[in-house]
Symmetry: C3
Subunit: 136 residues, 3 copies
Amino acid sequence: MKFHTDYLTFQTSKREEFVLITDQVEQTVKTSGIREGMVLVSAMHITAAVYVNDAEDGLIEDIKEWLHGLAPDKDYRHHRTGEDNGSAHLKNLILHHQVILPVTNGKLDLGPWQQVYYAEFDGQRRKRVVLKVMGE
Amino acid sequence: MKFHTDYLTFQTSKREEFVLITDQVEQTVKTSGIREGMVLVSAMHITAAVYVNDAEDGLIEDIKEWLHGLAPDKDYRHHRTGEDNGSAHLKNLILHHQVILPVTNGKLDLGPWQQVYYAEFDGQRRKRVVLKVMGE
Amino acid sequence: MKFHTDYLTFQTSKREEFVLITDQVEQTVKTSGIREGMVLVSAMHITAAVYVNDAEDGLIEDIKEWLHGLAPDKDYRHHRTGEDNGSAHLKNLILHHQVILPVTNGKLDLGPWQQVYYAEFDGQRRKRVVLKVMGE
Protein backbone atom coordinates (compact mmCIF):
# COMPACT_ATOMS: atom_id res chain seq x y z
CA MET A 1 0.00 0.00 0.00
CA LYS A 2 1.22 3.46 -0.94
CA PHE A 3 0.57 6.96 0.32
CA HIS A 4 1.53 10.22 -1.26
CA THR A 5 0.94 13.63 0.29
CA ASP A 6 1.19 16.99 -1.45
CA TYR A 7 0.26 20.52 -0.46
CA LEU A 8 -1.01 23.14 -2.90
CA THR A 9 -0.45 26.77 -1.98
CA PHE A 10 -2.73 29.63 -3.01
CA GLN A 11 -2.48 33.37 -2.67
CA THR A 12 -5.39 34.81 -4.63
CA SER A 13 -5.31 38.41 -5.80
CA LYS A 14 -8.99 38.90 -4.95
CA ARG A 15 -10.61 38.20 -1.60
CA GLU A 16 -13.09 35.82 -3.25
CA GLU A 17 -11.76 33.72 -6.11
CA PHE A 18 -12.39 30.23 -7.49
CA VAL A 19 -9.38 28.33 -8.84
CA LEU A 20 -9.61 25.26 -11.11
CA ILE A 21 -7.27 22.59 -9.70
CA THR A 22 -8.21 19.38 -11.57
CA ASP A 23 -4.88 19.26 -13.43
CA GLN A 24 -2.87 19.71 -10.25
CA VAL A 25 -4.76 16.89 -8.54
CA GLU A 26 -4.29 14.66 -11.61
CA GLN A 27 -0.56 15.47 -11.57
CA THR A 28 -0.27 14.50 -7.91
CA VAL A 29 -1.97 11.17 -8.64
CA LYS A 30 0.46 10.56 -11.51
CA THR A 31 3.47 11.41 -9.34
CA SER A 32 2.22 9.04 -6.63
CA GLY A 33 2.35 6.07 -8.99
CA ILE A 34 -0.93 4.87 -7.46
CA ARG A 35 -3.20 3.09 -9.96
CA GLU A 36 -6.12 2.11 -7.72
CA GLY A 37 -7.37 4.05 -4.73
CA MET A 38 -8.61 7.46 -3.70
CA VAL A 39 -7.30 10.98 -3.36
CA LEU A 40 -8.49 13.31 -0.62
CA VAL A 41 -8.49 17.01 -1.60
CA SER A 42 -9.07 19.07 1.52
CA ALA A 43 -8.79 22.78 2.31
CA MET A 44 -6.64 23.40 5.40
CA HIS A 45 -8.52 26.61 6.20
CA ILE A 46 -11.95 27.43 7.52
CA THR A 47 -12.80 30.17 5.04
CA ALA A 48 -12.21 28.21 1.82
CA ALA A 49 -13.89 25.21 0.21
CA VAL A 50 -13.11 22.46 -2.28
CA TYR A 51 -15.92 21.33 -4.55
CA VAL A 52 -16.61 19.47 -7.79
CA ASN A 53 -18.77 21.05 -10.48
CA ASP A 54 -18.73 22.61 -13.93
CA ALA A 55 -15.91 24.73 -15.43
CA GLU A 56 -18.35 27.29 -16.84
CA ASP A 57 -17.74 30.95 -16.08
CA GLY A 58 -21.41 31.93 -15.93
CA LEU A 59 -22.15 29.17 -13.44
CA ILE A 60 -19.19 30.20 -11.29
CA GLU A 61 -20.62 33.72 -11.05
CA ASP A 62 -24.04 32.20 -10.27
CA ILE A 63 -22.50 30.18 -7.43
CA LYS A 64 -20.78 33.25 -5.96
CA GLU A 65 -23.98 35.32 -6.10
CA TRP A 66 -26.06 32.49 -4.67
CA LEU A 67 -23.63 31.96 -1.77
CA HIS A 68 -23.69 35.69 -1.10
CA GLY A 69 -27.48 35.48 -0.77
CA LEU A 70 -27.35 32.48 1.59
CA ALA A 71 -24.49 33.82 3.72
CA PRO A 72 -24.57 37.62 3.36
CA ASP A 73 -22.05 40.06 4.76
CA LYS A 74 -23.44 41.29 8.05
CA ASP A 75 -22.42 42.02 11.59
CA TYR A 76 -21.71 38.50 12.86
CA ARG A 77 -20.89 37.76 16.49
CA HIS A 78 -17.61 36.37 15.18
CA HIS A 79 -16.58 39.92 14.26
CA ARG A 80 -16.27 40.83 17.94
CA THR A 81 -12.93 39.01 17.77
CA GLY A 82 -11.71 41.61 15.27
CA GLU A 83 -12.34 39.40 12.24
CA ASP A 84 -14.64 40.48 9.41
CA ASN A 85 -14.95 37.14 7.62
CA GLY A 86 -18.07 35.57 9.16
CA SER A 87 -19.73 35.05 5.78
CA ALA A 88 -16.59 33.26 4.51
CA HIS A 89 -16.90 30.70 7.34
CA LEU A 90 -20.55 30.04 6.43
CA LYS A 91 -19.74 29.66 2.72
CA ASN A 92 -17.08 27.09 3.65
CA LEU A 93 -19.78 25.15 5.50
CA ILE A 94 -22.28 25.20 2.61
CA LEU A 95 -19.83 24.00 -0.04
CA HIS A 96 -17.90 21.67 2.31
CA HIS A 97 -14.13 21.87 2.58
CA GLN A 98 -13.22 18.60 0.90
CA VAL A 99 -13.87 15.97 -1.73
CA ILE A 100 -12.49 12.47 -2.14
CA LEU A 101 -11.94 11.38 -5.70
CA PRO A 102 -11.71 7.78 -6.90
CA VAL A 103 -8.54 6.78 -8.77
CA THR A 104 -8.97 3.98 -11.35
CA ASN A 105 -6.26 2.84 -13.77
CA GLY A 106 -4.01 5.66 -12.58
CA LYS A 107 -6.50 8.42 -13.39
CA LEU A 108 -9.15 10.46 -11.60
CA ASP A 109 -12.38 8.54 -12.15
CA LEU A 110 -14.59 11.58 -12.76
CA GLY A 111 -17.68 12.10 -14.92
CA PRO A 112 -17.38 14.04 -18.19
CA TRP A 113 -18.15 17.48 -16.69
CA GLN A 114 -16.69 17.11 -13.23
CA GLN A 115 -13.93 19.58 -12.41
CA VAL A 116 -12.27 20.24 -9.05
CA TYR A 117 -12.29 23.78 -7.66
CA TYR A 118 -10.64 25.57 -4.78
CA ALA A 119 -13.08 28.26 -3.63
CA GLU A 120 -11.40 31.04 -1.72
CA PHE A 121 -13.61 33.31 0.39
CA ASP A 122 -11.00 35.18 2.40
CA GLY A 123 -7.90 35.32 0.26
CA GLN A 124 -5.06 37.71 -0.49
CA ARG A 125 -2.89 35.68 1.88
CA ARG A 126 -1.15 32.30 1.77
CA LYS A 127 -3.43 29.32 2.15
CA ARG A 128 -3.11 25.58 1.57
CA VAL A 129 -4.91 22.47 0.36
CA VAL A 130 -3.71 19.00 1.34
CA LEU A 131 -3.81 16.19 -1.23
CA LYS A 132 -3.42 12.66 0.06
CA VAL A 133 -3.43 9.75 -2.38
CA MET A 134 -3.93 6.30 -0.86
CA GLY A 135 -3.90 3.02 -2.77
CA GLU A 136 -1.72 0.68 -4.78
CA MET B 1 -5.40 -4.73 0.13
CA LYS B 2 -8.40 -5.00 -2.17
CA PHE B 3 -10.27 -2.57 -4.36
CA HIS B 4 -13.58 -3.09 -6.07
CA THR B 5 -15.21 -0.58 -8.40
CA ASP B 6 -18.80 -0.61 -9.63
CA TYR B 7 -20.93 1.87 -11.52
CA LEU B 8 -24.66 2.31 -10.97
CA THR B 9 -26.69 3.67 -13.87
CA PHE B 10 -29.82 5.75 -13.52
CA GLN B 11 -32.34 7.04 -15.98
CA THR B 12 -35.15 8.56 -13.94
CA SER B 13 -38.59 9.07 -15.46
CA LYS B 14 -38.98 12.47 -13.76
CA ARG B 15 -36.53 15.35 -13.97
CA GLU B 16 -36.23 15.42 -10.18
CA GLU B 17 -36.32 12.08 -8.42
CA PHE B 18 -34.71 10.55 -5.32
CA VAL B 19 -33.68 6.88 -5.52
CA LEU B 20 -32.92 4.70 -2.47
CA ILE B 21 -29.64 2.86 -3.19
CA THR B 22 -28.61 1.38 0.18
CA ASP B 23 -29.20 -2.21 -0.98
CA GLN B 24 -27.16 -1.72 -4.14
CA VAL B 25 -24.25 -0.29 -2.14
CA GLU B 26 -24.52 -3.17 0.35
CA GLN B 27 -24.50 -5.66 -2.54
CA THR B 28 -21.35 -4.09 -4.02
CA VAL B 29 -19.62 -4.39 -0.64
CA LYS B 30 -20.66 -8.07 -0.44
CA THR B 31 -19.41 -8.76 -3.97
CA SER B 32 -16.08 -7.09 -3.16
CA GLY B 33 -15.37 -9.57 -0.36
CA ILE B 34 -14.00 -6.66 1.68
CA ARG B 35 -14.64 -7.03 5.43
CA GLU B 36 -12.91 -3.91 6.76
CA GLY B 37 -12.60 -0.58 4.99
CA MET B 38 -14.69 2.11 3.33
CA VAL B 39 -16.89 2.52 0.30
CA LEU B 40 -17.04 5.78 -1.62
CA VAL B 41 -20.43 6.50 -3.23
CA SER B 42 -20.03 9.43 -5.60
CA ALA B 43 -22.25 10.95 -8.30
CA MET B 44 -20.37 11.34 -11.61
CA HIS B 45 -22.52 14.30 -12.63
CA ILE B 46 -22.81 17.89 -11.51
CA THR B 47 -26.59 18.03 -11.28
CA ALA B 48 -27.12 15.07 -8.94
CA ALA B 49 -26.21 14.35 -5.33
CA VAL B 50 -25.64 11.40 -3.02
CA TYR B 51 -26.70 11.80 0.59
CA VAL B 52 -27.53 9.81 3.72
CA ASN B 53 -30.79 10.42 5.55
CA ASP B 54 -34.20 8.94 6.35
CA ALA B 55 -36.30 6.71 4.06
CA GLU B 56 -39.50 8.59 4.90
CA ASP B 57 -41.65 9.84 2.03
CA GLY B 58 -42.86 12.99 3.79
CA LEU B 59 -39.30 14.02 4.60
CA ILE B 60 -38.21 13.42 1.01
CA GLU B 61 -40.90 15.82 -0.18
CA ASP B 62 -39.81 18.29 2.52
CA ILE B 63 -36.21 18.09 1.26
CA LYS B 64 -37.27 18.71 -2.36
CA GLU B 65 -39.40 21.72 -1.39
CA TRP B 66 -36.69 23.09 0.86
CA LEU B 67 -34.03 22.79 -1.86
CA HIS B 68 -36.38 24.50 -4.30
CA GLY B 69 -36.61 27.43 -1.87
CA LEU B 70 -32.82 27.67 -1.40
CA ALA B 71 -32.00 27.23 -5.11
CA PRO B 72 -35.07 28.39 -7.05
CA ASP B 73 -35.59 28.15 -10.78
CA LYS B 74 -34.59 31.49 -12.23
CA ASP B 75 -32.67 33.01 -15.07
CA TYR B 76 -29.11 32.02 -14.15
CA ARG B 77 -26.07 33.23 -16.09
CA HIS B 78 -25.38 29.57 -16.77
CA HIS B 79 -28.48 29.50 -18.98
CA ARG B 80 -26.74 31.71 -21.57
CA THR B 81 -24.95 28.50 -22.62
CA GLY B 82 -28.30 27.04 -23.67
CA GLU B 83 -28.72 25.00 -20.46
CA ASP B 84 -31.72 25.46 -18.17
CA ASN B 85 -30.45 23.50 -15.16
CA GLY B 86 -28.77 26.18 -13.01
CA SER B 87 -30.81 25.29 -9.94
CA ALA B 88 -29.82 21.61 -10.31
CA HIS B 89 -26.12 22.59 -10.06
CA LEU B 90 -26.79 24.54 -6.86
CA LYS B 91 -28.80 21.68 -5.32
CA ASN B 92 -25.87 19.36 -6.06
CA LEU B 93 -23.65 21.76 -4.11
CA ILE B 94 -25.94 21.98 -1.06
CA LEU B 95 -26.38 18.22 -0.65
CA HIS B 96 -22.82 17.34 -1.73
CA HIS B 97 -22.20 14.77 -4.44
CA GLN B 98 -20.72 12.00 -2.33
CA VAL B 99 -20.57 10.06 0.90
CA ILE B 100 -18.01 7.61 2.23
CA LEU B 101 -19.42 4.76 4.27
CA PRO B 102 -17.48 2.67 6.77
CA VAL B 103 -17.44 -1.11 6.22
CA THR B 104 -17.12 -3.22 9.37
CA ASN B 105 -17.40 -7.03 9.47
CA GLY B 106 -18.39 -7.04 5.80
CA LYS B 107 -21.36 -4.69 6.26
CA LEU B 108 -22.13 -1.01 5.92
CA ASP B 109 -21.55 0.42 9.39
CA LEU B 110 -24.57 2.75 9.41
CA GLY B 111 -26.83 3.97 12.20
CA PRO B 112 -30.36 2.54 12.52
CA TRP B 113 -32.06 5.16 10.31
CA GLN B 114 -29.30 5.94 7.84
CA GLN B 115 -30.20 5.21 4.22
CA VAL B 116 -28.24 6.14 1.10
CA TYR B 117 -29.99 8.16 -1.62
CA TYR B 118 -29.19 9.21 -5.14
CA ALA B 119 -30.85 12.61 -5.67
CA GLU B 120 -31.41 13.41 -9.33
CA PHE B 121 -32.08 17.06 -10.23
CA ASP B 122 -31.76 16.92 -14.01
CA GLY B 123 -32.77 13.43 -15.04
CA GLN B 124 -34.60 11.69 -17.87
CA ARG B 125 -31.22 10.75 -19.30
CA ARG B 126 -28.48 8.23 -18.46
CA LYS B 127 -26.36 9.13 -15.44
CA ARG B 128 -23.90 7.27 -13.23
CA VAL B 129 -22.66 6.84 -9.68
CA VAL B 130 -19.24 5.32 -8.95
CA LEU B 131 -18.84 2.95 -6.00
CA LYS B 132 -15.32 2.18 -4.88
CA VAL B 133 -14.72 -0.21 -2.00
CA MET B 134 -11.26 -0.15 -0.47
CA GLY B 135 -10.03 -2.41 2.34
CA GLU B 136 -9.26 -5.99 3.23
CA MET C 1 -2.61 -2.27 6.30
CA LYS C 2 -4.38 -1.48 9.55
CA PHE C 3 -7.89 -0.50 10.47
CA HIS C 4 -9.13 0.80 13.77
CA THR C 5 -12.77 1.53 14.57
CA ASP C 6 -14.10 3.49 17.52
CA TYR C 7 -17.50 4.83 18.46
CA LEU C 8 -18.05 8.07 20.36
CA THR C 9 -21.27 8.36 22.36
CA PHE C 10 -23.08 11.63 23.04
CA GLN C 11 -26.04 12.52 25.17
CA THR C 12 -26.30 16.29 25.10
CA SER C 13 -28.20 18.15 27.81
CA LYS C 14 -29.69 20.58 25.27
CA ARG C 15 -31.61 19.64 22.13
CA GLU C 16 -29.13 21.61 20.00
CA GLU C 17 -25.51 21.53 21.08
CA PHE C 18 -22.12 21.61 19.37
CA VAL C 19 -19.34 19.48 20.90
CA LEU C 20 -15.63 19.91 20.12
CA ILE C 21 -14.20 16.43 19.41
CA THR C 22 -10.76 17.10 17.88
CA ASP C 23 -8.93 15.63 20.89
CA GLN C 24 -11.03 12.46 20.86
CA VAL C 25 -10.33 11.95 17.16
CA GLU C 26 -6.62 12.58 17.74
CA GLN C 27 -6.64 10.05 20.60
CA THR C 28 -8.27 7.40 18.39
CA VAL C 29 -5.58 7.95 15.75
CA LYS C 30 -2.89 7.57 18.42
CA THR C 31 -4.46 4.37 19.76
CA SER C 32 -4.65 2.93 16.23
CA GLY C 33 -0.88 3.18 15.79
CA ILE C 34 -1.50 4.34 12.21
CA ARG C 35 1.10 6.85 10.98
CA GLU C 36 -0.10 7.40 7.38
CA GLY C 37 -3.68 7.30 6.19
CA MET C 38 -7.09 8.80 6.84
CA VAL C 39 -9.71 8.85 9.56
CA LEU C 40 -13.41 8.97 8.74
CA VAL C 41 -15.51 10.80 11.35
CA SER C 42 -19.16 10.16 10.61
CA ALA C 43 -22.39 10.77 12.52
CA MET C 44 -24.53 7.61 12.72
CA HIS C 45 -27.73 9.66 12.94
CA ILE C 46 -29.74 11.74 10.53
CA THR C 47 -30.28 14.73 12.79
CA ALA C 48 -26.65 15.45 13.66
CA ALA C 49 -23.62 16.60 11.66
CA VAL C 50 -19.84 16.50 11.83
CA TYR C 51 -17.96 19.50 10.49
CA VAL C 52 -14.58 21.22 10.60
CA ASN C 53 -14.36 24.91 11.44
CA ASP C 54 -13.27 27.39 14.10
CA ALA C 55 -13.42 26.88 17.88
CA GLU C 56 -14.76 30.39 18.47
CA ASP C 57 -17.90 30.77 20.60
CA GLY C 58 -19.30 33.75 18.70
CA LEU C 59 -18.99 31.92 15.39
CA ILE C 60 -20.69 28.84 16.83
CA GLU C 61 -23.68 30.99 17.81
CA ASP C 62 -23.59 32.57 14.32
CA ILE C 63 -23.70 29.10 12.74
CA LYS C 64 -26.67 28.04 14.88
CA GLU C 65 -28.62 31.20 14.07
CA TRP C 66 -27.77 30.94 10.37
CA LEU C 67 -28.89 27.31 10.20
CA HIS C 68 -32.10 28.24 11.97
CA GLY C 69 -32.76 30.80 9.23
CA LEU C 70 -32.03 28.33 6.40
CA ALA C 71 -33.97 25.45 7.96
CA PRO C 72 -36.57 27.01 10.27
CA ASP C 73 -38.91 25.17 12.62
CA LYS C 74 -42.18 24.75 10.77
CA ASP C 75 -44.87 22.22 10.08
CA TYR C 76 -42.96 19.75 7.88
CA ARG C 77 -44.65 16.80 6.16
CA HIS C 78 -42.24 14.63 8.15
CA HIS C 79 -44.12 15.63 11.31
CA ARG C 80 -47.15 13.59 10.20
CA THR C 81 -45.15 10.58 11.41
CA GLY C 82 -45.29 11.97 14.95
CA GLU C 83 -41.76 13.42 14.79
CA ASP C 84 -41.08 17.13 15.32
CA ASN C 85 -37.49 17.23 14.10
CA GLY C 86 -37.82 18.15 10.41
CA SER C 87 -35.49 21.13 10.72
CA ALA C 88 -32.84 18.90 12.36
CA HIS C 89 -32.82 16.65 9.28
CA LEU C 90 -32.31 19.65 7.00
CA LYS C 91 -29.49 21.04 9.16
CA ASN C 92 -27.77 17.64 8.95
CA LEU C 93 -27.95 17.94 5.15
CA ILE C 94 -26.50 21.47 5.00
CA LEU C 95 -23.50 20.75 7.24
CA HIS C 96 -22.98 17.17 5.97
CA HIS C 97 -22.73 14.27 8.39
CA GLN C 98 -19.07 13.44 7.95
CA VAL C 99 -15.50 14.51 7.34
CA ILE C 100 -12.42 12.52 6.42
CA LEU C 101 -9.19 13.77 7.93
CA PRO C 102 -5.70 13.05 6.62
CA VAL C 103 -3.25 11.42 9.03
CA THR C 104 0.43 12.25 8.44
CA ASN C 105 3.28 11.21 10.75
CA GLY C 106 0.76 9.82 13.22
CA LYS C 107 -1.16 13.09 13.61
CA LEU C 108 -4.24 14.75 12.17
CA ASP C 109 -2.96 16.81 9.24
CA LEU C 110 -5.16 19.87 9.86
CA GLY C 111 -4.64 23.56 9.23
CA PRO C 112 -3.91 25.89 12.17
CA TRP C 113 -7.55 26.78 12.90
CA GLN C 114 -9.30 23.58 11.91
CA GLN C 115 -11.24 21.92 14.71
CA VAL C 116 -13.66 18.99 14.47
CA TYR C 117 -17.19 19.42 15.81
CA TYR C 118 -20.15 17.15 16.46
CA ALA C 119 -23.27 19.24 15.84
CA GLU C 120 -26.33 17.84 17.58
CA PHE C 121 -29.73 19.08 16.40
CA ASP C 122 -32.02 16.61 18.16
CA GLY C 123 -30.25 15.55 21.31
CA GLN C 124 -31.07 14.72 24.90
CA ARG C 125 -30.78 11.05 23.97
CA ARG C 126 -27.93 8.64 23.21
CA LYS C 127 -26.32 9.10 19.80
CA ARG C 128 -23.12 7.90 18.18
CA VAL C 129 -20.29 8.87 15.84
CA VAL C 130 -18.16 6.23 14.13
CA LEU C 131 -14.42 6.82 13.73
CA LYS C 132 -12.58 4.58 11.31
CA VAL C 133 -8.83 4.98 10.86
CA MET C 134 -7.33 3.29 7.79
CA GLY C 135 -3.65 3.23 6.87
CA GLU C 136 -0.27 1.94 7.94
